[in-house]
């Protein structure tokens, strides 16, 4: 199939960017979206134009490195990661607009690449269970109710891609944050630090400049791992509990 691509090009963080138009022919529907961009880049390189920079690593939907705004939707029209989006989701003659995640806490590095280190800093501020190596009791010392273990797993599948932020009209990272709070907060191991964790992580979330959540729900519908909105409620509940404890 033949496509027209509108792609955001920006030389570096401080440069002014703009949309550029490219046409691409002979795209196969078995290609992934990123393979389609690989083909474009190979052509640009041959023509002497610098290839489009975009992030990807595992290309199997698990590392969270990829992430593009495709036709106004984070990761494109399917519920999946950009690397797992295949061209069979498009048709011949389509015009596709590709933009980077837009959020001030995720500044553009180049073209479609953004800096998501804000997420790391949120994890640094309490997104863990303090268990020094070697200090662990036997794994069977504390059984965990299966329901809770499954819940913890479901929300721990967050890949930190940032699509939730990209999709949220408020630029909020509440879904990412809620997923971590829920993961650690639903396990017995996570209880001792539960109150302090939520307070410091929320504090960091706000300090990074993410917007507040007004429960719009775009995040959950863009999330490739289908993290549900429940986690934001749990986040709020944990904060409320921590507030009552005076943190």
């Amino acid at each position: 199939m033949n496509l027209t691509l509108n792609i955001w090009r920006q030389a570096n963080a401080n440069a002014k960017g703009a949309m550029h138009r490219y046409s691409l022919e002979g795209v196969s529907e078995d290609m992934s979206f990123l393979e389609m961009l690989d083909v474009l880049n190979e052509q640009l390189n041959a023509k002497g134009e610098e290839p489009v920079a975009f992030d990807s690593d595992c290309r199997e939907g698990i590392c969270g490195m990829c992430g593009l705004m495709i036709n106004g939707q984070a990761h494109g029209p399917e519920v999946t990661t950009t690397c797992q989006l295949h061209m069979r989701s498009f048709k011949d003659g389509d015009e596709i607009t590709v933009e980077p995640w837009r959020a001030d806490p995720f500044p553009v590095v180049k073209d479609l690449v953004v800096d998501r280190s804000a997420f790391d800093r949120m994890i640094q501020n309490g997104g863990f269970i303090s268990a020094n190596t070697g200090s662990a009791p036997d794994a069977h010392a504390a059984p965990v109710e299966k329901k809770l273990a499954d819940l913890a797993f479901d929300v721990a599948t967050c890949i930190g891609c940032g699509a939730c932020v990209a999709a949220c009209p408020n630029g909020s990272a509440s879904l990412f944050l809620g997923a971590k709070i829920t993961h650690l907060g639903s396990l017995p191991q996570g209880q001792p630090e539960r109150d302090t964790r939520v307070v410091s992580m929320v504090g960091q979330h706000d300090a990074e400049g993410f917007g507040g959540c007004t429960n719009i729900g775009e995040c959950a519908s863009a999330c490739p791992k289908e993290i549900p909105l429940d986690v934001i409620s749990r986040l709020n509940k944990d904060l409320r509990t921590a507030m009552a404890q005076g943190y």
Partner: protein
Amino acid sequence: MGTPDPSGMIPTNQPSVQKSDDAAGFYTLGAPIIDETAPTGPINTRWQRRKFENRLVNPANRRKLDVIIVGTGLAGGAAAATLGEAGYNVKSFCYQDSPRRAHSIAAQGGINAAKNYKEDGDSVERLFYDTVKGGDYRSRESNVYRLAEVSTNIIDQCVAQGVPFAREYGGLLDNRSFGGVQVSRTFYARGQTGQQLLIGAYQAMERQVAAGTVTQYTRHEMLEVIIADGRARGIVTRDMVTGAVETHLADVVVLASGGYGNVYFLSTNAMGSNVTAAWRAHRKGAYMANPCYTQIHPTCIPVTGDHQSKLTLMSESLRNDGRIWVPKRAEDCGKPANEIAEEDRDYYLERIYPSFGNLVPRDIASRQAKNMCDEGRGVGPQVKEVQPDGTEVLMRRGVYLDFADAIARMGRDAVETKYGNLFDMYARITGEDPYETPMRIYPAVHYVMGGLWVDYHLQTNITGLFCSGEANFSDHGANRLGASALMQGLADGYFVLPNTIREYLADGPFEKIDESHPAVVEAKAEVEERIAKFLSIQGERSADSFHKQLGQIMWEYCGMERTEEGLTKAIGLIRDLKAEFWTNLKVLGTADSLNQSLEKAGRTIDFIELGELMCIDALNRRESCGGHFRGESQTEDGEALRHDDEFAYVAAWEFGGENANPVLHKEDLIYTAIEMKQRSYK
């Protein structure tokens, strides 16, 4: 260190005599080597004793000791967290935008541990035995025993960190059995075990970042090691955003940079997985051990066309319930699966290996899939292939992995709970519904057992340069059993390295060196020159196109079956490719900004050089063992045939210089606790 214990078994050294010399002319034979840190004594006390013998570092001194760790996967991330907790001053590097994205995240199936929670006869000894046998008797006994021993601590540690392993209704951990073994010892978190383990290590590491003991450098690619006065003292990196070439100095350097499967271009590795960190160390003198040992994983999604950028693995756990078959007759191969009657299907693994069936080790499952397709009984679309003699043929490269029986037996819901996410992934990539039609799978490069040579302490032959995880060669011999790479990564990171590195650091802090030290200046200049060179060639071909071509050569001649003729040819082709690379490469953009073409160029040339060494290593090893199958060395019924009399050694290759022959050092493998046997899974 390692004083011989008279009460223990003292290895009798039987130097191997190599009768065949296929690689003559391509290498120089160097002096044999031994692992001077290898422990002795009864095998089950070796690690305990070594931990006790290794010296301690005073807590007040740790702050003054700088540790560089390249890599934030299970091996690097776990080490950074643990050494940070201990109070060392750690600098951690990765090329991704966050440590959480290291490729360990992609591991699906699970992690082994000899917990024997199922009371099905598992033990440290059995895990040890299975791993040595699985590795086709090409690994070191002491290392493997240690791995099995610490495996249980890993599970405890991860659970304490909040890793959400699968659990049973009683609230206790669930586990399953995995390819190549008959006990249930694989702990898992649905099909995302690697992700969960890595997030655990990552969080532990981020906690240390907050504590100020670990500094993390993301989007930093290591491009050179700095060796000053005989010790590894630092690295040269490029800040991938600003292009700044920086030097980082320390008392010790750890490479935990993962595997180099991407030398085949198409593999299940991440796009950025590379050999650069290890290869640069190799060029500075570190030995590269058994580079040709590659694991080809049997259950991957087949290639669809030449646009393909990577291959996707479907967890091997699928083999627990899925049945693998091809049509009995080649004529049936074009038909839809459901039109092929039961009696016309050949469940070839169950037929050839009645006791292990679909659960045979990976190397065997992969090679048999290839054999079936070579016989013309493959399924799926026909793809164009170039035969070694240059003719083009249409081949079907795929076998069925069928869940119809499992769905009938367990019900669709149960199958969905167990494998749902894998099925979804398959459907997403292929556009087919695996609940309705059987999946098609084909082997793909997945893991490398080869890597930098290290001693029992995980130190390379360069003093102060350690190497852990997939980047080293140590624990898996010629083939790795499923679920044991995660085990090794975390064993190295949480438990081994922190205990061995202190023996080295007990002599530190070493005399400070600064930016003006000639070794530092030189290493930095080398990096800058290489970058300038890539940008100045201005030829016609992208780095990717060279990489792709290298991959085709490697897959064709150094893939699932290797022959003297093919390997010799490949070496020639690779040398030509290398020459063309340096004259016809085209990298646009500048050095002082994010430049992904430039990054690829650096990785590609290192892969090209590595590819050549892999072929030489494969050519030299005229035996079949584990993942290395030499056409010339097979039993009558086509099984791998080892030659323990000639090849029971680790091939440690020393860089011989630019365009000069590499030097082969042999380290003999000595078995005292386990008897070497010809592997049989029949």
